[in-house]
Symmetry: C2
Subunit: 248 residues, 2 copies
DNA sequence: GAAACTCCTTGATTCAGATCAAACGCGCGA
DNA sequence: TCGCGCGTTTGATCTGAATCAAGGAGTTTC
């Protein structure tokens, strides 16, 4: 997976808590000087709304640390998360004036931002960036469509397993821990946030997580720390094809 | 809405059953000559699979007439439609080797195709096209995310109303019939296909359609021909914001 | 260290939609 | 004209997840 556009552009983020180069091996970034003066960091606390749907967008950027979510809300309060933004994920849509969804910090979060206008100017000058952006957007589209299957056709148990599987996989690739041994990670989401992502209620999320625990599919330390002794077993519970899901 | 890329490129499709210019007012298409020899039409019958998930893609193109769907299937046979392709919609992902989903002709369908390689070459030469493609991909992403809300949080009745609303809207813009009077259109989908799109069973689809009919939200002539006496009423049933949904 | 949070669990009950089952209607080919 | 097949409707029953309702467990606050 080759996912961090800002990494590719800004190359050597000496002050970034995450080493972007580790995320993106292809860094070249001849644009570094041009960009440095338009790059900045932003921090938000868990629960803060980063951007309201309909707001004018002033920046694009990527998540450095923490988790954010894209959510949609109906007038009567029903909400659906339509995207989960993990470290290295890109936020913002060049060419669009306003945000289409609420962007909410799910945990405390640090973002690496670029002012939108100069970023777009640069995009126009360097087709290579535009191409990367298209590719990333296609990835997002694939993810959204995969999630449509989850939402439309999977049972509560399968939904939970699918979510855990995605987070585990993302966490593994970020930490370069691949293949060997049991996976471990902290859930970056409350039960309610998981419910919003999965189209369930928080009670059902709680019950199904504990059911997976009872059945030995996962282990829990506290309420958030998850150990996955057998990733294939988890994938199976998620109803995924049993190829390990590592293509793309 | 400005949706047909092939229209923009090929401008004057004299032999197209649909007048592309009507769809896309911005046609300029200096590439016409270059492209004409790589453009061709394909027709499929209802039920035919145009492309299997995993297949090598040889062309990109857009739907000229008829309806196709993108579907995903689990091993146990559960299927979820992840995209509905109506006339003027674009198919194919430049830069990707293989199809990510099954593409199935839902009705008899005619597609206007371009061989993929030359199309991509041209894309690389003309940034304007790449930009359009990004914009279209973002539109698709928005549509997919809107659908996530439908799948995750709406009731069966709201789901049906949402689908009818989308089809009615698309049909209205294609036929340049906007605003005035009752909308009329033929459902291009079987009850089963609707169920696959909405994450329901065909029985529930049937029941809810007839419920909407009983309640006067829609009228039916035969099983497929729908009249919408009051579009706002339908939007309300769909749980949409009451702004008429005509922004973008 | 008690009150007031927020987040999570667990139980009892209800209900929307799935499932199972049968039959209708209509176009089509023999 | 008869069957035949497909898409659709309709009814009866079942069930997975929602809803309603308490509590518990870990914090921050004063």
């Amino acid at each position: 997976m080759h996912n961090s556009l800002t990494a590719e552009i800004s190359q050597d983020c000496g002050d970034c808590p995450i080493r972007h180069r580790a995320v993106c091996a292809r860094c070249e970034a001849d644009e570094l000087e041009t960009l440095d003066n338009i790059k900045y960091y932003r921090a938000y606390e868990a629960g803060q709304t980063i951007l309201w749907s309909g707001d004018r967008m002033e920046f694009v950027g990527s998540v450095v640390r923490g988790v954010a979510s894209l959510t949609q809300t109906m007038e009567d309060g029903r909400t659906q998360m339509v995207g989960l933004l993990l470290p290295s994920d890109f936020v913002g849509r060049p060419g669009r004036e306003t945000a289409a969804y609420d962007v909410v910090a799910t945990t405390d979060i640090v973002m690496c931002c670029f002012r939108k206008k100069p970023f777009e100017d640069m995009m126009a000058r360097t087709p290579h960036i535009a191409q990367r952006l298209l590719e990333m957007t296609l990835d997002e589209l694939d993810a959204a469509r995969e999630w449509m299957l989850v939402l439309g056709r999977k049972t509560a148990r399968e939904k939970i397993a699918s979510l855990l599987s995605i987070i585990a996989r993302r966490d593994a690739t970020l930490n370069l821990r691949s293949g060997e041994g049991p996976l471990e990670f902290d859930l970056p989401l409350t039960r309610e946030a998981m419910a919003d992502y999965l189209g369930l209620t928080l009670e059902t999320v709680s019950r199904q997580i504990n059911a997976l625990k009872r059945d030995g599919v996962i282990e829990l330390k506290g309420k958030r720390h998850v150990t996955v002794p057998d990733f294939d077993r988890l994938s199976e519970e998620a109803g995924d094809d049993s190829d390990g899901g590592m293509l793309s």
